[in-house]
């Protein structure tokens, strides 16, 4: 059979388009009702995956919640670390995590967004840019232990920062930088070209256009990516373990050059020791609750900031 449509010549010799007509669409009620059923069923199939994820999360939170009851109190939040479970408090651990955050946020935002601006707005597109872009995307998927080793070599050893807050903060910054660069690039790319044109056509310089038009439009997108990746940094354990963050620290860090310990590290060490001291499991659970709360507060603040920017525009 010939399924091709074709041009045929009419009697005047001009070509005319003839649509193929050797098939017919018929309404098959059975088939249609079958397809509607399948379509309705797909909704339940897909919702199952959500239910599964939620179920796991609820079980996890429930067990942690139960374990932490009785342990999560004011003394625990304000006290010092101790090897005796009843006396242990995590004030210095919270402070360590807060310091880390205070380093990671400015370092990654400044470096990450600047890199993204350079790559998207200034770098001429070519082979070099493609290679750099591919490498940044690859870096985003490098295991965090590798970044720990890099931090150990560069910050701890070469720059002699040891296992200080600064060394830890910079290592975590390296870890999340690629993600922030990639997500900021995407946000900048999504700014419509006609807005850029409008600004340039009025005699604005490139930098003015970036500052007044591109960044304001891109900032909600940039922040969304940054919130997620900075939260990841705060919950990250492996790179800090590689840096040799101490298990037990009795003083609260004062400056960024002091030794410290952070919430995920403390959870990790307490969990390791549950065989000898079963109460450590409860301490770990209580610390997890604190870590989750910290992340929750951070994310909410960032979302509020983002919404503020969105409204302004």
């Amino acid at each position: 059979m010939n399924y091709e449509s074709q041009f045929i010549k009419d009697n005047k010799g001009e070509s005319k388009y003839e649509f193929m007509s050797n098939y017919k669409i018929e309404i098959d009620e059975k088939r249609i009702s079958r397809r509607i059923k399948l379509s309705n069923a797909s909704r339940y199939i897909f919702s199952l995956s959500l239910i599964f994820a939620l179920l796991v999360l609820v079980i996890l939170l429930y067990r942690i919640g139960v374990d932490s009851i009785g342990w999560l109190n004011i003394n625990f939040l304000t006290g010092r670390l101790s090897i005796f479970p009843e006396k242990a408090g995590i004030f210095s651990v919270i402070i360590g995590s807060v310091y880390l955050t205070l380093i990671v946020i400015p370092v990654t935002l400044v470096l990450g967004v600047s890199t993204a601006i350079y790559l998207e707005e200034y770098a001429s597109s070519g082979k070099i840019k493609r290679v750099i872009n591919t490498n940044i995307s690859n870096l985003a998927s490098v295991p965090s232990v590798i970044f720990g080793l890099l931090g150990l070599t560069v910050f701890s050893r070469m720059l002699n920062l040891g296992s200080s807050i600064l060394a830890g903060g910079l290592t975590l910054s390296l870890l999340v930088l690629p993600i922030i660069v990639v997500s900021s690039q995407e946000a900048i790319k999504a700014v419509p070209g006609f807005l850029k044109e409008a600004s340039l056509a009025m005699g604005a310089t490139k930098w003015t256009t970036i500052r007044k038009v591109i960044l304001p439009v891109a900032i909600p997108g940039i922040l969304t990516g940054s919130i997620l990746s900075i939260s990841r940094a705060i919950g990250e354990t492996a790179p800090l373990v590689v840096l040799g963050i101490p298990t037990l620290i009795l003083t609260t860090p004062d400056t960024i050059f002091d030794d410290f310990t952070a919430l995920p590290i403390q959870i990790y060490y307490w969990t390791l020791d549950t065989v000898l001291t079963p109460e450590y499991a409860n301490l770990a659970a209580a610390t997890i609750v604190v870590l989750l709360l910290v992340l929750f507060i951070m994310n909410s603040t960032a979302i509020i900031i983002r919404n503020k920017f969105q409204k302004k525009f």
């Binding site: 001429s124 597109s125 419509p192 006609f194 807005l195 044109e197 409008a198 600004s199 340039l200 056509a201 009025m202 005699g203 604005a204 310089t205 003015t208 007044k212 038009v213 439009v217 525009f313």
Partner: protein, 263 residues
């Protein structure tokens, strides 16, 4: 100095642009071929031609917006105030301050109506709030939009209709005090009533501005322009007074195009 030289000098001073042998390439494809013509001040010059003839390319070279495409290469000169705009000493920011542009699709910023209009004056250093408000009012009046928006200057510009957005873009361009306004098919995305309003506005604007307009619609060119240039495949086929181009064109190809035989 003889009389004819003096006349010539006066004539040259009356020019907004003097385009000399302009050729332009996108990579290896030549988009403009050896174009030369003069654009007079305080007139509306229309550029017509079929799709892909290079009319948008041409108008975008007048303020060097074409250079945003990295593979573009030009030859020849565009004299503006007796200076080649492609000369290295010409700062593109200065040129674009004096030569405003209105685009095919209305492109207001996602900001308030007021912020849109004062964007240009602000980036050029005007900070005085009262002065900015005056600028906004006079620009919006100039673009025949004031009466429609005076009660909602702080509303987002995206709440305006397409035609209002385009007039806002014209107001925004006017606020920078340009001498020339380039319009790249400014009404192609608008309905007939909005188009009519923009055309009426263009007629008023030519008292104070030189206007170069690219248009798809020959009726529009006939209605609003003083002179018309007809481009075809990157070549300037005809450039003359609009009545002449439409009633008694010199070239057969122009006649075919304006009578609707192709395009």
């Amino acid at each position: 100095m003889s009389e004819s030289v003096k006349n010539l000098k006066e004539y040259k001073n009356n020019l907004a642009y003097d385009v000399k042998n302009l050729s332009l390439w996108y990579g290896k494809d030549q988009a403009l071929k050896d174009i030369s013509f003069e654009i007079e001040k305080y007139q509306v010059t229309a550029i017509i031609g079929p799709s892909g003839c290079g009319k948008s390319t041409f108008i975008k070279s007048l303020n060097r917006m074409i250079e945003n495409i990295p593979i573009v290469r030009t030859e020849g000169e565009i004299l503006y105030k007796n200076k080649d705009i492609f000369d290295k000493s010409v700062k593109v920011e200065e040129l674009r301050t004096k030569v405003g542009m209105v685009f095919q699709k209305p492109n207001p910023f996602p900001k308030s109506i007021y912020e849109n209009v004062v964007y240009g004056p602000k980036i050029h250093g005007i900070k005085d709030k009262a002065l900015l408000m005056e600028i906004a009012e006079s620009s919006l009046k100039g673009a025949a939009l004031w009466d429609e928006v005076k009660d909602r200057l702080d509303d987002n510009a995206y709440g305006l209709s397409g035609g209002q957005q385009q007039r806002l873009c014209i107001a925004r361009a006017m606020a920078v005090q340009p001498e020339i306004i380039l319009m790249d098919e400014p009404t192609s995305a608008l309905d007939p009533i909005a188009t009519y309003k923009i055309e009426e506005l263009i007629d008023q604007l030519k008292k104070n501005y030189t206007i170069v307009i690219v248009t798809h619609s020959m009726q529009q060119a006939a209605r609003i322009s003083d002179k018309t240039a007809f481009l075809l495949m990157g070549e300037l086929i005809e450039f003359d007074k609009t009545e002449k181009v439409f009633s008694n064109p010199r070239d057969k190809r122009t006649e075919d195009y304006v009578t609707g035989r192709f395009g």
